[in-house]
Symmetry: C2
Subunit: 216 residues, 2 copies
């Protein structure tokens, strides 16, 4: 059985702007190497957290899994991958970075589907992390993921249950047609109607089971 290469392979199947596949996967798993990552985290943690009323809360819940969990999976972005012209990146230069994040989320979901826990540690000073892992300074570390088996999964995010922040109501995050506007008619009905107005693009068009379109 292959582990974690099957999982990394799923990350490699993520969509990327202009098919540039800007990611690399740096796996840190040895007891000799994980402390270097942990040291960078510890330094940033000590520097970065300003004293405020949430410090006590943070100290109760912060995960220390860089050392405990078997795998640190660093996913990076090489912004020069595939040359200077990248289809779809001309106007949005961040699209390379965003593509690597799609790989992160694919890896996360693939791991979760196998019963593995994933934590994204972002308390790092970029250059210190690059130096600790030998990553060239023009390669952007996107995510350091701690991966391992866990005793259980929470039904809700830890930061929600501990009172750090509430889950925002979805309705407050939705806009229709223009920023700030809500539909007077039921959005579901209107959008279903819009979707059903879509014409099949080929004669081989198939409606899927569970389609919300009424039969033609």
């Amino acid at each position: 059985m292959r582990w974690p290469l099957t999982r990394v392979g799923k990350a490699h199947r993520a969509p990327s702007v202009g098919f540039m596949q800007p990611w690399n996967f740096l796996v840190v798993g040895s007891p000799a190497d994980k402390p270097r990552v942990h040291d960078v985290f510890r330094t940033a943690e000590a520097e970065g957290l300003s004293p405020d009323d949430r410090r006590a809360l943070y100290s109760r819940m912060k995960p220390q899994e860089i050392l405990e969990l078997p795998i640190n999976q660093c996913i990076t972005c090489d912004r020069s991958r595939s040359g200077p012209v990248v289809l779809g990146r001309t106007h949005m230069l961040s699209m390379g970075l965003y593509s690597s994040v799609c790989a992160v989320q694919n890896l996360w979901l693939a791991a979760r589907a196998e019963g593995l826990g994933v934590g994204w540690v972002s308390i790092f000073e970029q250059q210190a992390l690059q130096d600790a892992l030998g990553i060239p300074h023009d390669i952007v570390p996107i995510a350091c993921l701690c991966v391992g088996w866990v005793s259980h999964f929470n039904n809700r995010p830890e930061l929600e249950t501990c009172g750090w922040l509430p889950r925002l109501p979805l309705a407050e995050l939705l806009h229709y047609e223009q920023w700030g506007s809500t539909m007077r008619t039921s959005p579901d009905e209107a959008l279903t109607a819009a979707a059903c107005a879509q014409r099949p693009r080929t004669t081989a068009f198939h409606r899927r089971p569970g389609s919300t379109c009424p039969p033609a």
Copy 2:
């Protein structure tokens, strides 16, 4: 049946740094509003593509789905969401943007699981898109997704099959312990050994079916 709110709900369940949930979801579905998005795309497209030998290739394959498909789903990032102190963003200021990309990828996979096609259009000038949709200039448009039923799904990305770029071999993207190093022993064996050295963290620890660890 609810559409697309169930799907947007899955995007809203994405992980976010410090649980800041920085996203908004702007759904553009009416025939009156989609042309505004299309105009912004057309302007950027005309300005951005420099003449080169790939232009002919691009012109053959580019999707014009902003008008054809029923839904344009714009996902944004409010970098000030949840206040100035965001747990895990102090050292990596892009983590808010990255969180919104996790929502994009969740939406994409959720749509795909329902048999819907998704295309991420990134040929936009940011301010023109903000103005077309009334998005405040401090809100970052992350993705404009064209969503709709499609005749079929390709087994490989279109940019691969048309010869734009090849799929990179996964082995060339992998590093172990340090950037640039490959393992001499089988990485699968070594990493499985590292994972199996992980001790259960609670007495309720469960091994999952399919675990690569041998029985204790």
